[in-house]
């Protein structure tokens, strides 16, 4: 008798398993931190064999680094696409990017916590990946910022660092889901060097 279960392509299953393991380490580290997360917890949560984990990754750190890297890349792509989609002024592009970032955090609280909070202190390599990720956001802001000749060279770095800090506090308070409520305040902060302060920033459908 043949099985009624449809056969899924092998690559699909493999990449699905990789994603499950990355999701599992995100949830576990968000919950109890990197140190306390064990391989046994990961394979149980991801419902994969221990061997599958070692077939795909060198071990816990390698899996963690891949997961952090993947999340940071997804985050950047989402923001970049939102900036590109916005056809208005560069200010509107920045607000759209910021909105996409906050919505990403709200929709993926555990991966967001993993890459923005845990990664900083988990291992030296994860701290480096976090740093590279932040540098990418600095470049992204620079590329999308209104041309303003006179600003300090480090302005985008300070702005990105500030947004990251506010988001980290939000995540650490366990309020990642409410991150989109920060849109108006963070937009004003990020646009202050370009637009001035106290101007009402149009954040679209949000207040």
């Amino acid at each position: 008798m043949t099985s009624t279960r449809p056969e899924l392509p092998r690559e699909f299953v493999a990449s699905h398993k990789r994603r499950r393991m990355m999701q599992a380490i995100a949830e576990l580290t968000a919950d109890k931190g990197y140190e306390a997360t064990k391989i046994a917890d990961i394979v149980r949560q991801a419902a994969v064999a221990r061997k599958t984990l070692y077939d795909n990754f060198d071990g816990k750190e390698d899996l963690f680094l891949s997961a952090v890297n993947t999340t940071l890349t997804e985050m950047r792509v989402v923001v970049e696409e939102a900036c590109d989609r916005s056809e208005g002024s560069s200010e509107e592009g920045i607000v759209a990017g910021l909105e996409a970032l906050l919505e990403f955090v709200a929709a993926h609280p555990a991966p967001a916590r993993m890459c923005m909070v845990e990664a900083i202190s988990a291992t030296p390599s994860s701290a480096r990946i976090y740093d590279t990720g932040m540098r990418d956001f600095v470049d992204l802001l620079r590329d999308n910022a209104p041309a303003e000749a006179d600003l300090p060279e480090t302005i985008e770095e300070s702005l990105v660092g500030g947004v990251a800090w506010v988001l980290q506090q939000q995540i650490r308070r366990g309020e990642a889901e409410q991150a989109p409520e920060l849109l108006s305040e963070l937009s004003q902060f990020v646009l202050s060097p370009y637009l001035g302060v106290g101007r009402v920033v149009d954040t679209g459908r949000r207040k």
Binding site: W165, P193, G198
Partner: protein, 214 residues
């Protein structure tokens, strides 16, 4: 920190113990800056401090224990320095006090790069307990910055998140410079950091005017 004279010196045991403790804290801070957390051993801390390994354990249970004490001491020194500078400029307007505060902070870090290292870099990487301390320190500077801050020139309120974002942004930028081995040049960032801070409250034009007026 200078060692005490050997042999008979008539100093009280409490004084000697206090002095040793302070030297160990300074020794750990220095060792961290030189070789990083992993390679900072109790022997190296003792060497830098001029205190024997067995005396180390009279003061601290472990390297971690000493690290926490050193972290608290570092934050306290930084806070004191900025508080003192702001106190001196008490009668001045907000922008002036911000200038004085940032200036004193950067001067302290430039003079003592090891202090910048433990406070801004190691503090973020040493696990949750120390991170909580880092966060509390940032928060205390947010309160400082908000004190007497002007209302928004456009009429709207300055958003709640602005103070947090400014201080967090400065801390992370400085941390990255320290990590790149530029701790002794942080003072060079003074005009940029001042302009960034004032811009978030006053807008770019006014901030530039104040920065260039000196």
């Amino acid at each position: 920190m200078d060692r005490l004279p050997r042999g008979r010196h008539g100093l009280s045991p409490e004084f000697v113990a206090q002095n040793q403790r302070k030297r160990l804290i300074a020794g750990l801070t220095q060792a961290l800056y030189e070789v990083g957390y992993q390679k900072t051993t109790v022997s190296l801390i003792g060497q830098r401090a001029g205190v024997s390994k067995s005396d180390f354990y009279k003061h601290f249970e472990s390297k971690d224990d000493c690290f926490i004490a050193a972290y608290d001491a570092a934050i306290e020194r930084i806070r004191e320095q900025v508080r003192f500078a702001c106190e001196e400029a008490k009668g001045d307007d907000w922008a002036r006090r911000v200038r004085v505060g940032i200036d004193s902070l950067l001067k302290l870090f430039t003079a003592e790069p090891a202090l910048a290292g433990i406070a801004l870099v190691e503090g973020l990487r040493a696990g949750r307990e120390v991170y909580d301390r880092y966060q509390a320190a940032v928060e205390s500077f947010v309160a400082c910055l908000r004190q007497g801050a002007p209302a928004s020139p456009g009429g709207g309120a300055i958003p709640e998140a602005t103070g947090e974002a400014v201080v967090g942004g400065i801390a992370s930028m400085l941390g990255r410079r320290v990590l790149a081995g530029e701790a002794d040049r942080l003072s060079e960032l003074f005009p940029e950091i001042l302009e960034f801070t004032l811009t978030a409250y006053l807008g770019g034009e006014e901030a530039r005017r104040i920065v260039s007026a000196g």
